[in-house]
């Protein structure tokens, strides 16, 4: 082939267009993301802004003083922050182009432990929300970039016009994205109080760790925000711990701590409530009756990407781990993955879910499964020893996440054979005495007969069906043993 790509025997007859159409980005890319997640992308940009503006992330509340507010109105949307703003040259070169800048430029935009890695969040969110938008920001030199409906529907990729920002605007160094001409889906959602409440719940969960580090998010209508609303509280994560029993066992969280393939890994898993009794578990199998906080939560650089998952995604129903069901309602876990290089994290572009092809996550999941299995076995063993359960809850108390994290390194002294760079806590959960010599007896009986036996054994005292069955069993046993 000759240098200009033309082969004498294969004459070139034209060019087949390979550039992406704008229609693809504006209409197709937005189909793969839910409205909530698109808005969370904008919120992620706020947090990434903080990380870029802080020299060092230190202390328990490094994000204190930084805030974002989201305004939902029927005909417009605003997100505004004070998180550092976009430098003008970054806006000129990268912030509005599609995709992450080339590697050599990434270092110039240096920020550690961000969650932005694909460089599509802001644009995709704007496309998802409406057809006209303003992006205003001030870091060094304030600017405004305009997305017009004409640009959106135009075939070409003309650069967007940039104007100087008025002097009094965004003086705290921040960014404001305003979207007008909302799509119908957004108009309906923003006018619906329930949708807004659900969105607040989503933020409170997915930003739980970031909020706990001092970041404030306020959400409401223009009037509500003007009147002053409280910042959202982040969802809590806590695990049960008890005093040690005579045999050295106790209820306590499993922790894993260390690094895998350049990613800092922390895993906390245990019980967040007392175990269900068998009758409660049976009821739970039929109809959901109690608040369900069970499952695995996974965060990448503090951003929660999986919330309380009880599927194969987090190892339930894989290998010997049973499928999740009501009996395991007390089991919950949290995985924190952190890296200065977000490409090492198993993030997906929507940041909802996990990149299943990630080797780091596959390795982390091995540890998650191990802990889950130990806890499901624990639950199962005590299923047949309900009466003694009270004895294992001595002085039970909750440990909140910050305490767990501060303890992690200290209590993770055990070796993880497979990974030399990981440590785990040595946990000895209480086991029922005579475990191998007992077997469960359970059967269904006529309700009238049960009532008759209740009367006989307990008269008018309240008694669970299992207690009535056991009383009858012991009664017969005592008689035949005489």
């Amino acid at each position: 082939m000759s240098q200009d790509g033309v082969d004498a025997e294969r004459p070139k007859i034209g060019d087949a267009k390979a550039a992406p159409t704008k229609n693809f980005f504006v209409n197709m890319l937005t189909r793969d993301i839910e409205l909530q997640d698109a808005i969370l992308d904008l919120l992620d940009n706020c947090v990434d802004g903080i990380l870029r503006s802080l020299a060092q992330i230190e202390g328990e509340t490094p994000y204190k003083g930084f805030q974002a507010s989201i305004t939902f109105e029927k005909d417009y949307f605003v997100i505004e922050d004070n998180c550092g703003g976009i430098p003008k040259d970054v806006a000129e070169k990268y912030a509005f182009s599609m995709g992450r800048p080339p590697e050599e430029d990434v270092e110039k935009l240096a920020a550690s432990a961000t969650v932005g890695m694909y460089g599509i969040g802001m644009k995709r969110a704007i496309f998802k929300l409406g057809t006209e938008a303003l992006v205003e920001s001030r870091r060094d030199e304030g600017f405004t970039v305009e997305f017009s409906p004409e640009w959106m529907s135009d075939r070409g990729w003309n650069d967007l016009p940039m104007f100087a920002l008025a002097d009094g605007e965004l003086t705290d160094k921040g960014t404001r994205v305003t979207v007008y001409k909302l799509h119908e889906e957004c108009q309906k959602a923003f006018a619906d109080g329930t949708w807004v409440d659900t969105f607040k719940t989503t933020v409170s969960r997915h930003y739980a760790i970031i909020i706990s580090k001092g970041f404030e998010v306020r959400i409401g209508s223009e009037a509500e925000l003007a009147a002053g609303v409280d910042p959202l509280a982040g969802a809590e994560f806590r695990l049960l711990e008890t005093d040690q029993l005579a045999d050295g066992s106790r209820i306590q969280p499993f922790t894993y701590f260390g690094t895998l393939d350049g990613v800092e890994v922390e895993i906390y898993v245990g019980l967040y409530r007392e175990l269900l009794t068998e009758e409660e578990a049976d009821r739970e199998e039929q109809t959901r009756g109690v608040k369900d906080d069970a499952g695995w939560t996974v965060a990448c650089n503090d951003r929660v990407v999986i919330w309380k998952d009880t599927t194969r995604l987090t190892g339930w129903g894989e290998a010997t781990v049973p499928n999740y069901h009501g009996q395991f309602i007390a089991i919950t876990g949290l995985v924190l993955l952190r890296s200065d290089d977000p490409t090492k994290l198993p993030l997906t572009t929507t940041k909802r879910g996990i990149d299943a092809a990630s080797n780091v996550y596959a390795e982390v999941k091995d540890l998650m499964r191990e802990a889950t299995k130990n806890l499901t076995s624990f639950t199962y063993k005590w299923k047949t020893h309900e009466r003694e359960l009270d004895t294992i809850y001595q002085n039970s108390r909750y440990i909140e996440l910050p305490t767990l994290r501060s303890m992690a390194q200290e209590i993770s002294t055990g070796q993880v054979r497979k990974f030399a760079t990981m440590k785990r806590s040595e946990v000895k959960l209480p086991a029922p005495a005579n475990e191998s010599k007992t077997a469960r007896v359970s059967f269904a009986a006529d309700k009238a007969d049960i009532a008759a036996l209740r009367k006989h054994f307990f008269d008018d005292q309240p008694a669970a069906n299992s207690e009535i069955g056991e009383a009858a069993f012991r009664d017969v046993l005592d008689r035949i043993k005489k």
Partner: protein
Amino acid sequence: MSGSSIPYHLRPHKAVDRRLFVDLLGRCERWRSLANAAYISMGAYPLEDHKLVHRILGIRKLIAFDYNAEIVKRQVFNRPIDTCQCVCHSSGELIDKLDTVLSDVGYADATNLIVWLDYTTPAALGEQIREFVMLLDKLRDGDIVRITVNANASSLFTAKPQKGEPTMPGDEVRKVRYGKLNERIGDYLAVDTTADMMTDEKLPSVLGRAFGTAALQALPTSGGNTFAPLSVVRYADGQQMLSLTGIVVQREQESEMRERLDLASWRFASKNWGDVHLLTVPDLTIRERLFLERAIGTTPIPDMKDQLGFDFAELEVGETFLGDYEHYYRFYPNLLAAEI
């Protein structure tokens, strides 16, 4: 669970299979030294395999386990050396708590693990394959796993004849078996598995491939390690059993490992999980045995047959016996009655 009710001396296939395993471990030493490895297996009450790996390979970090506390006490009585630790756990528990068990018995520093899960209950195949996945989750480069499972087609299902008459056509029987197998390990079966394969001859290969799929699930291609097959063998002392042995190895080192072990020259080596060898260990008289051992290596098989004056192949021993015997005669157990 461990320890079938048939006494060990009546299980010559099992005895040879165990010796072949130790022979294979000897080859594995060409890849990684096993001197500081820990050997974990159920062992039942006589701890035969623990004795062998200790005597032949010099491994001292031995762990035996059983669910039954009384068997564990009997193991303690029978242990070959004091460093053999006997712990009370089911196989599932042992795997769940593997790291804890190792540190509790003081063997957390073992360089590698050799784990033999010797299962017998056919109905628990589903649990067994999942325990195998859970175990692989916890292993590292150089660890060796052997798993023995029931591979008897009729253990899946067999129609009860009435008054000596069959009550179901063979293909119906195989369909029911396939249904059962699907219920237990359907997640792991290859898509081309059919009811016709539910025979003693073909089921082992189906199971072997299922374990291969399970291994891939535990060690997916996105990771650095793979579970490489070393040997897949079926044999029957009554019930047909399937023994699968493999080693955790870095994906890019698998072919180097195979060369180093010189698996091409080892009769019972398997290149893939469906490559199953049949092990037949017929009952030989001492006269027959001595004759065969003198003839091995010098006399061609047809001449051996002539000199014997009868054909083992005609005696339900199997066509391959004479060819195979050459490769395991060293391990043929001499079982003699003795007055003590």
